[in-house]
Symmetry: C2
Subunit: 143 residues, 2 copies
DNA sequence: ATAGGAAATGAATTCCATTATCACTTGAAA
DNA sequence: TTTCAAGTGATAATGGAATTCATTTCCTAT
């Protein structure tokens, strides 16, 4: 069992949940596809391809649980589905979405820290998360 | 007919569309509720309250058209629905979303202009729109 | 070890916002 | 007027997600 899985298990146990077989299988898919943005159905399909049968409802429930425990982030691009990615403890990143080819380009937001702090002061709003999306045309799709 | 409606009509006509009765009625609802964030169903209900019968499908189609013409913005908060608000030509704004009471607080993004420009340079990405959400707890809901 | 019970699962169903369909209406142009 | 594309609205369909509920898993107390 990878140390990464162990780390997840600690988070689960700390919150009084168990690392069950379906949860472990789902986490393995997420780790194998780290860096991708996967839908619940993507994950369900990859499980089936590997010969594991996990109910789609369990996939949804597990993704929701992992989000609550900050193991995952739920992303909403400009379509109907939710996408999930492993939360990176060190650097939070955001997304550039190409309106032409739907390419997703990631960028970090170090430069935004000051702005976030000014928001907290100005509005007395305690920021716990932020979601920033830039929409437009990637270098392949303009000019 | 208000000058605001006239302005919208110009945009429509310029794009080869007509200001039909359903479209005008929907625009009136939006103007009467300027500053609010309304769902398609909200708008449909307010039309019915005023005795106007417009099909829900037409409400959806009109909202989509208005978004394409940059008359409206479509907003996605953290729930399943889309919310719409009139696009303000002068100052673009964003939203603080309270995770406790669901209050929406608006803020402008003047300070972010520099950051957006750095994104354009760094990635050769032509930004046409951006969506920024800060999630957390408003002043009524923390401490 | 065994029994009890809470937590978790999965097949099926339901939900619900949104989109598609299609017959009908409208209104501008010929 | 006639024509015909654009627009409309009742309804059905779609699809991602949530819910239901019978069953299974697995920890705990005896
Ligand atoms: Mn990402
Ligand atoms: Mn707003
Ligand atoms: Zn592109
Ligand atoms: Zn609040």
């Amino acid at each position: 069992m990878s140390s990464r899985i162990k780390e997840i298990e600690n988070k689960l146990v700390h919150a009084k949940f168990k690392l069950t077989t379906p949860r472990r299988l789902i986490m393995e898919i997420l780790l194998e596809n780290e860096g991708d943005h996967l839908t619940a159905e993507d994950i369900h399909n990859r499980l089936r391809e590997k010969g594991h049968q996990v109910g789609l409802a369990t996939v949804y429930r597990t993704l929701e649980l992992f989000c609550e425990l900050d193991i995952l982030s739920r992303l909403n691009f400009e379509d109907a589905s939710s996408y999930y990615e492993l939360e990176e403890q060190d650097q939070h990143h955001h997304h550039l979405i190409c309106l032409s080819c739907n390419k997703i380009i990631e960028f970090s937001d170090e430069l935004l820290e000051d702005f976030m702090e000014s928001i907290e002061k100005k509005y007395g709003f305690e920021v716990t998360d932020h979601k920033i999306k830039y929409l437009g045309y990637c270098s392949d799709c303009h000019d």
